[in-house]
């Protein structure tokens, strides 16, 4: 079946360092990918998205990289701050589109 998975369940970084969160997806037909941030007790919050016709997209302090050859997605956070501490999910739209299939999540912990 379709699945999206993350390489690292937890990631601890020092404040000010850059963070990289990785994600592997299994469905080569997926053409839309999103990263979400989820803080405790809240719903997932949209961070950045990318379509399959691109391999890189930048936002404010965040960059998403897409490697379709190896079906890999990554989220880079520059100058990580304590407020970035949360669980990060990648999601893909799968073969049918119209919905998002989420991975398990990576917990990012930022040490001051």
């Amino acid at each position: 079946g379709e699945s999206v998975g993350l390489h690292l369940p937890t990631l601890s970084v020092q404040e000010g360092d850059n963070s990289i969160i990785n994600c592997a997806y299994s469905n080569s037909a997926s053409d839309y990918f999103i990263w979400y941030k989820q803080e405790s007790g809240k719903g997932p919050q949209f961070i950045i998205d990318i379509r399959s016709n691109m391999d890189k997209r930048q936002g404010q302090r965040v960059t998403v990289l897409l490697n379709k050859t190896v079906k890999h997605l990554s989220l880079q956070i520059a100058a990580t701050q304590p407020g970035d501490s949360a669980v990060y999910f990648c999601a893909e739209n799968g073969s049918q589109g119209g919905k998002l299939i989420f991975g398990q999540g990576t917990e990012l912990s930022v040490k001051p």
Partner: protein, 113 residues
């Protein structure tokens, strides 16, 4: 703009009792989703609406779960009867169009005892 609003935030019920969750999506968003999230896991789709039509309910346990979206705006998700395994966070989301970002509410945390 106001975000996706869900109520209640928390619900504790005994098994075999019914429960209902309510969602008000972002104004103008025709697509509405109900997701279930278990602790430590990513959300899983239960049902997706395009306006008032349920276009994907393949993951909805129809023996006990039901949903409706009257008038294509607000939506209600119901469980009857609830089981212990239904304890989870039920998230509602909406999007402007297909393959655009989903905007989530803060969810309803259901505990079945």
């Amino acid at each position: 703009e106001a975000g996706v609003v869900q109520s209640p935030r928390y619900k504790i019920i005994e098994k075999k009792q019914p429960v209902a969750f309510w969602c008000n999506p972002i104004s103008g968003h025709n697509t509405l989703y109900w997701y279930l999230q278990n602790l430590g896991q990513g959300p899983e789709l239960l049902i997706r609406y395009e306006n008032e039509e349920a276009v994907d309910d393949s993951q909805l346990p129809k023996d006990r779960f039901s949903a409706e979206r009257l008038k294509g705006v607000d939506s209600t998700l119901k469980i009857q009867p609830a089981e212990l395994g239904d304890s989870a966070v039920y998230l509602c989301a909406s999007s402007l169009r297909l393959n655009s970002p989903l905007h989530f509410g803060n969810g309803t945390r259901l505990t079945v005892t």
